[in-house]
Structures are given as C-alpha cells and as structure tokens.
Amino acid sequence: MIRVQAEDFNQQVEYDRLCVNASVGAIVTFTGLVRDMNQGEEVSSLTLEHYPGMTESCLAEIVEKAKLRWNILEHTVIHRIGELNLQEQIVFVGIASAHRQEAFAACEFIMDYLKTAAPFWKKEVNSSGKSYWVDARESDDHALHKWSEK
C-alpha cells in the first residue's frame, strides 16, 4: 500500500496491516520525524510540497524495484504532505518478509530511493520564524551507491 496524505498515521494500525499471513517472519519499519536541528538550523515546523500524481507513481516504481531484488510479502509506504510540527511523523516504510535480511535491505533501499527520487520538497521554518527551502544532501546521493555495488 502506498499513500500520500496530510493526516497522521498510527504505528499499530500500519504494523497490523503488514502481518498478512503466517509466512511473515520479519517486519522492519522506518519512521522519519520532524527533528529540532537540520543543516544547522533550529527547526520549529515544516511544510511538505509534492508533485501530485507523480509522487504516487514514483513511490510505486521504487517499491517495484525493491520487489525485483527481495522477496517482499507486504509493503506500506506513507508520506505526509502539508504543514508538520516538531516531532510529527513524516514518512513510514514498513516491509514484511520471511527473513530479516530481506526486510532490512528492502526497507532501507526504499528510503534511500525515496530520498533522492520522489518529488517531495521541504520548506522549514526556524525558531526565529524565517522560512527557507531545505537543500538536498549529498549524503543521500551517496547512500544510493551501496545498492549498485551489490
């Protein structure tokens, strides 16, 4: 399941959706949150803009890429849009597999690709009320290298 939504989500509800059947032996989840410091700025809130339509198809494509590499029994990708305050949940990736290695790898792969390929943009507001667009991080480009080496 892939969802792009303004609403918050519940960890237990999303977890339960991943336990589809008795073949699931491992569930790995990633949750990204609005944190207080980013690129040297004290963050107080942020707004997430996206490219409606492309976002969903791009996320679906990333999941398909992961499914070619690992045996994924169930997946959930949720990305929130709109205004988010400090400590709010931004993104969730949950993977259910038979074995832990597959679940870890697929979950991290999807996050690494999402960070560099999915059309979302963050505009932060810092503690003095100034708003600015977040710069893309080089470390996110580097994170993709590990998937091409294998």
Binding site: I90, W121, A136
Partner: protein, 82 residues
C-alpha cells in the same frame, strides 16, 4: 500545447506554478528550457542556477527527451522528502 509546471523554490522565484507553451516550438526538453530562459534575465538566472531536475509526463527525464502536443513537463530542484 505543452503544460509546464514549476515546484518548490523554482516556482517561488518565478512566481508562476504553471504555464502553456506551443508544442511546435518546443520539440524537446532542452529547447523548451532555452525558450523559458530567453523570457528575461530573471528567468534565465532562476532556470540556470544549481541542479535542475526535469520530469516529462511525471517521469524523471533527461534534457534531450522529445516532446509532443499534450505533454506535461515539470522543472524542480533536487528533492528533499523523507
């Protein structure tokens, strides 16, 4: 016509989120970009600085991608979601 979209700081700086360009004069992405940059100095500056990403019909594309009537082309800065 070709539908052109701008996102994030590109849109903010241009003050435009969407416009139409004639498909006859914009047969590929690089030509479309040159025609947009030719509007004035400000457009040239905004559409020349930093890394610009392009999507054609909602798929990430290269600058030499061909365009046809009815296509949707989006220009945006590197993504920062997640």
């Amino acid at each position: 016509m070709i539908k052109v979209l701008f996102f994030a700081q590109i849109r903010d700086q241009l003050g435009v989120s969407e416009l139409q360009m004639p498909s006859e004069e914009n047969h590929d992405v690089v030509t479309l970009l040159e025609n947009l940059q030719a509007r004035d100095k400000h457009w040239l500056s905004v559409l020349s600085k930093g890394k610009l990403m392009v999507a054609v019909n909602q798929t990430m594309s290269a600058q030499n991608e061909k365009l046809k009537e009815g296509d949707e082309v989006a220009f945006f800065p590197p993504v920062t979601g997640g």
